[in-house]
Symmetry: C2
C-alpha cells in the first residue's frame, strides 16, 4: 500500500518521508493497514512557508469567513461521523458508543461552533478605546500555530479538530497539525473535511495543514521557527518540556498541558453522610476511559478513621470487580506499570488489582488501587506525585488535619483539585482551613464533584500552575478564553480612523462588546 | 561609611554582602558617597521566604487595602519629591526640571493611583460566571514578583516605584525589587516610603522588599525559585535573555522588555507637505533624554528624492548643532560607541556628529546621525538593526516603494512603528500597501507622531513581538492590562457560594464589571 500523503498548502502531496509508521489497534495489538510518513524537514519547511502566506491573507480577512469555515467543518464532521468514529475506535479501542459517537464527537462539533460564534462576534479581541488620547488596541492573531494533540482525545483534542485547533483558527491563525501517532487515520479524516470546508469558505488554502510525524529534532525546529506564531501541545511531560526549551529559546509562546494528579480531599463529614454515593462517583470518574483523562483523580486524601477505612475498602472491592479497560498503546501500559512499580517500591500497599494478563490480546493493566501514608508522602512528595496515567489511583491516608495540610502544601501544579464535604456544615470549618492550602496548586477547584468533566464554558479553566501547564494565566478549554493563548496585542496610536481595523472604529454596527473609556459597551465610540 | 542595609521582611537589615558597589554621578564620573551591598544568596532566600508568607496573607486580603497602600505611597512620594528628584539627578544626570520633577515624578504617582483604582475596582480580575453550569473564574495574584528596573527611568520604571511594581502590587503580589545599580539611592528612597505606606495600610510587611544587586547566578536562581510567581525585567537584551533561560526552565513566567529600534517611515507626501515640522518633531523625540528611551526612533526609512535629501540634510544640521546630552553610565557610552562603530564598519555614512570629548568630565557621545541604503540593510538586516541606545539614529534610504517593503519585511519585533503621511491623501495608497508589512513587527503603530510618548492608558500597548519583549500578548504600560502579566487564572466549579471569593458571588455590591453568561454587566449574577 502506498504511503499516505501529507496536507501541505491545500494539497494532499507525497511526503518527503524520512521513514514510515503504522498505528496499532490497541484491542488486538495488531498494526493497522495504513502506512503514514515520518516527514523530513522539507515538509515542515513547506508547511511553514505556506502557513505564513496564509496568515498574511487571514489578517486581512473577516471573522465571518472564519466562522463560516468552522460551521461548515462541523457539519461535514457530522456527515462523516460514522466513518470517523469507526476509525477512532480502531485506533484507540475507545467504545464507539457512548464514548466516541455520543460524547466526544458532539463535544468536538459543539466546540467548533462555539469557536465560530466567538470569531463572528469579535468580542474576544477585547477592543479597548481611549477616546481622549485616541489610542486603541485589541488582541489579534499571532501567526501560524503548531498543534500537537494528545493520544487520549482523538476527536475533542485532536490536532486538526480539537480545542487548540478551534481556538487557534478562531483567533485567525493557520494551523499546522501534527497528528498524534496513535491515531493518524482519525486525524487524516478530519483534515480531509477541514480542507473541503476551507475551500468552501474561501479561506487561504494553507489555513489547515497536516503532518503525521517528524523527528524530535524537527519538532523542536518547527516550534521555534521564525515563521511560527505559537504552539499548543498536550501530551507527555518529557516530550513537552523538550519542545518548550526550543520554543522558549526562540521567544515563541508555547502552551503546554502536561501532567496532573488531580488531588481529591474527602472530608470526614462527607464520608459519614454519603459514603456509598462517593464510592460510586469516584469509581465512575477514575475508571472512565480506562483512566486516561488529564483530569483523572489520581490522588485521594482522607483522614484515617473507621468510616474512611470502610470507604477505602469499598472502593478497593469495586476496583477489583470492575472490568479492566483497554489502554491506548503499549507506551501507556509501560508507563503506567513503571509508575505503579515505583510507588510499590517506595512502600505503597496494593489494595486492589483487577484481572488482566499478557494472554489478553489487548493492551491492559489491572485496575490498581494503592495506599500510602501522609507521612510517607510528605517525606518524598515528588515521588508520590508520579502521574499514573491510566486506571490506577493512590489513596493518601493522613492521621489528622495537620497531615492533610502538609500534603496539600507539597502539591505540584495541577489542573484540578476537589474537596468533598458534608452538606450540613460539619466539615465547613475544616474546609475553610484546608481550601486556601489547596487553592494555589490547582487551576480549577471543585466542590463535591469529580474533576473528569471539563465543560466548554467561558468560565472554565483547563489550566493550572506549572508543571500542569506551561502558564497559569491561560486555559486550554473554554471560549473565548482559550483563544487568548494564540493572540498578540496590537495598539493603534493616533491612527486615522479609516485606517483602523473595523473593530476599533467609532461605529460598532454589530454591537460587539468593547471597552471604551473604562466601561464595557456594545455602543459606538 | 557603613554599607546601606537591604529591606527584607519589613526591616532594614544588614545585608549578607558578597561585595559592595557605589553609583556614579554621570555628570562628573565620580562615585557617589553611599556604599551599597551586593547581596549573597542568603539575602535572596530570606526575601523569598518572607514574600511567600506575605503572598499567603495578601491572597486573603482586599483590593481596598492594596489601593490604600498605593495611594498613601503616592502621597508620600510627593511629600519627599524634592529629595527623590535631587538624588535621581545625581545618579542619572537627568535634568531636575522638567524631566524628573515635572514629567517623570508625576507620571509615577499618577501610575500608582491608576493602579490603586484598578485594585479597588476589581474589574481587572475579569470575573466570568456561567450561571447554568455554576462555573466561575477570575484572574488573581500569581505570587511574589521580582522586578528588575531599567537604568533609564529611575522613577516611572523604578523597581520599587514604576510600572511593573505598580502592576504587580495592584494584582495582589508582593514585590522583590532589584534596584538598577545605576540609581540605588533613588530606589532606596522609594522603598523607605513604600515600607511606611505598607505599614500604614496594614499590608503584610514583606509586601515590598529591596535588594540592590546580586551575582548573575543568584539573579538567575531568584527568578526560577519555586517561591516566585513571576518576574518583570526591563533592560539589556543579553542580561534579560539569561534570566529568561533560567525562568523558562523552571516554568516561571518572565516578562521582558529588551530592545527596540522603533522604525519610522516618512512617506514622500508628508515630507513635501511639512518637512520643517517633521525635522523638529524628529529632533525632539530622538535627542530627548539623550536618546535613552525604549521607544527612541532609531531607524528612519525614506524614499530617495530631492525633498527627502533635503529633509535628511536638515536633520543632520540640527544634530550637529544640538547640545550633546549626558549619558547614564560608562556602559551606555561604550555600548553606543560600539554600535556606531559596527555600523560604520559595515558602511554607514556619518552625516552628523556633535561635539563631545574625553575632556568632558561627564559621560557623553556625539549626537550621531548615520545613513545607509535599503539594499545594504536588506543584505544584512540583523546587523543594521543593532540598537543604538542613546543619541544616535540611522536613516535607511530606499530607492523606491519596493525597497521600503523589503526593509519592513525584515524588521525584528519592535515596541513601536510609525508612518508619517500627508494630510491630503496623496500618500494613502502607499500607506495602505506598506502598513500591513509594518504592522506584524510592532506592538504599537503610530500615525504622524513620534513614539517616545507612552501614555498610561488602558488602550496602550508598551509591548511587541520578540525580541522587543518576551511575549507579544502583554503590555508593560497601561492599566489594568499590565496587571494581567502577574495574574493566574482560578476557576471554581460547583463551589458553594459562601466559599467563593467575593468577586464571584451572586451579589455585586460595588458594581464591578463582570462577564455573566456571555454579557458584560455591573449587576448581580
Amino acid at each position: 500500500m502506498a504511503i499516505r500523503p501529507v496536507l501541505i498548502d491545500g494539497a494532499w502531496r507525497a511526503s518527503n518521508a524520512a521513514g514510515t509508521f503504522r498505528a496499532e489497534n490497541p484491542a488486538t495489538r495488531e498494526p493497522l493497514a495504513d502506512e503514514y510518513p515520518v516527514s523530513a524537514w522539507t515538509d515542515c519547511d513547506a508547511a511553514l512557508t505556506a502557513a505564513a502566506a496564509a496568515h498574511r491573507e487571514l489578517r486581512l480577512g473577516s471573522g465571518e469567513a472564519i466562522a463560516t469555515f468552522l460551521e461548515r467543518y462541523a457539519e461535514r464532521i457530522e456527515r462523516r461521523a460514522a466513518e470517523i468514529v469507526d476509525l477512532a475506535h480502531l485506533e484507540t479501542a475507545y467504545p464507539k458508543s457512548p464514548r466516541l459517537a455520543d460524547v466526544e464527537l458532539p463535544r468536538t462539533t459543539n466546540q467548533l461552533r462555539q469557536a465560530a460564534a466567538a470569531a463572528r462576534d469579535g468580542a474576544w479581541q477585547r477592543a479597548t478605546i481611549d477616546r481622549k488620547l485616541n489610542i486603541r488596541s485589541r488582541h489579534t492573531s499571532i501567526g501560524p500555530v503548531c498543534v500537537f494533540g494528545p493520544n487520549n482525545f482523538p476527536l475533542a483534542f485532536g490536532s486538526a479538530s480539537g480545542g487548540d485547533f478551534a481556538a487557534a483558527i478562531a483567533a485567525g491563525n493557520p494551523v499546522i497539525a501534527k497528528a498524534n501517532t496513535s491515531h493518524p487515520g482519525t486525524t487524516r479524516l478530519f483534515a480531509e473535511e477541514a480542507l473541503q470546508a476551507v475551500e468552501g469558505a474561501g479561506l487561504p488554502r494553507a489555513t489547515v495543514q497536516l503532518l503525521y510525524r517528524t523527528s524530535h529534532e524537527d519538532g523542536e525546529r518547527l516550534v521555534s521557527d521564525p515563521r511560527v506564531g505559537a504552539t499548543g501541545y498536550t501530551g507527555s511531560r518529557s516530550a513537552g518540556l523538550k519542545l518548550k526549551v526550543a520554543a522558549d529559546k526562540a521567544g515563541k509562546p508555547i502552551y503546554l498541558e502536561l501532567s496532573s494528579v488531580n488531588p481529591v480531599v474527602v472530608l470526614p463529614g462527607a464520608i459519614a453522610e454519603r459514603r456509598e454515593k462517593l464510592v460510586g462517583e469516584f469509581l465512575a470518574s477514575v475508571l472512565m476511559g480506562t483512566g486516561q483523562f488529564c483530569t483523572n483523580p489520581g490522588l485521594v486524601v482522607v483522614i484515617d478513621h473507621d468510616a474512611s477505612r470502610t470507604f477505602i475498602a469499598e472502593v478497593a472491592a469495586r476496583f477489583t470487580d470492575a472490568p479492566t479497560g483497554t489502554l491506548l498503546s503499549v507506551g501507556v501500559g509501560k508507563s503506567l506499570a513503571a509508575g505503579v512499580a515505583k510507588l510499590k517500591a517506595a512502600g505503597a500497599e496494593v489494595l486492589a488489582a483487577s484481572t488482566c494478563s499478557d494472554a489478553d490480546k489487548r493492551y491492559c493493566f489491572p485496575n490498581t488501587l494503592l495506599r500510602t501514608t501522609a507521612a510517607r508522602f510528605v517525606a518524598d512528595s515528588e515521588l508520590w506525585q508520579t502521574e499514573l496515567f491510566g486506571n490506577a489511583s493512590l489513596f493518601v491516608v493522613a492521621k489528622n488535619e495537620d497531615e492533610v495540610g502538609q500534603v496539600l502544601d507539597r502539591l505540584e501544579g495541577n489542573l484540578t483539585g476537589c474537596i468533598y464535604s458534608d452538606t450540613q456544615g460539619s466539615d465547613d470549618a475544616l474546609y475553610d482551613r484546608l481550601a486556601p492550602r489547596l487553592r494555589p496548586h490547582v487551576g480549577r477547584l471543585l466542590n463535591d464533584k469529580m474533576p473528569t468533566g471539563v465543560a466548554v464554558s467561558p468560565a472554565m479553566n483547563h489550566g493550572g500552575p506549572y508543571p500542569a501547564t506551561g502558564h497559569s494565566g491561560f486555559t486550554a478549554v473554554g471560549l473565548p478564553a482559550a483563544m487568548w493563548r494564540f493572540a498578540a496585542l496590537e495598539c493603534y496610536d493616533n491612527v486615522r480612523e479609516h485606517r483602523l481595523p473595523a473593530v476599533l472604529r467609532d461605529k460598532n454596527p454589530t454591537g460587539m462588546w468593547r471597552m471604551i473609556d473604562g466601561a464595557w459597551t456594545q455602543g459606538d465610540a
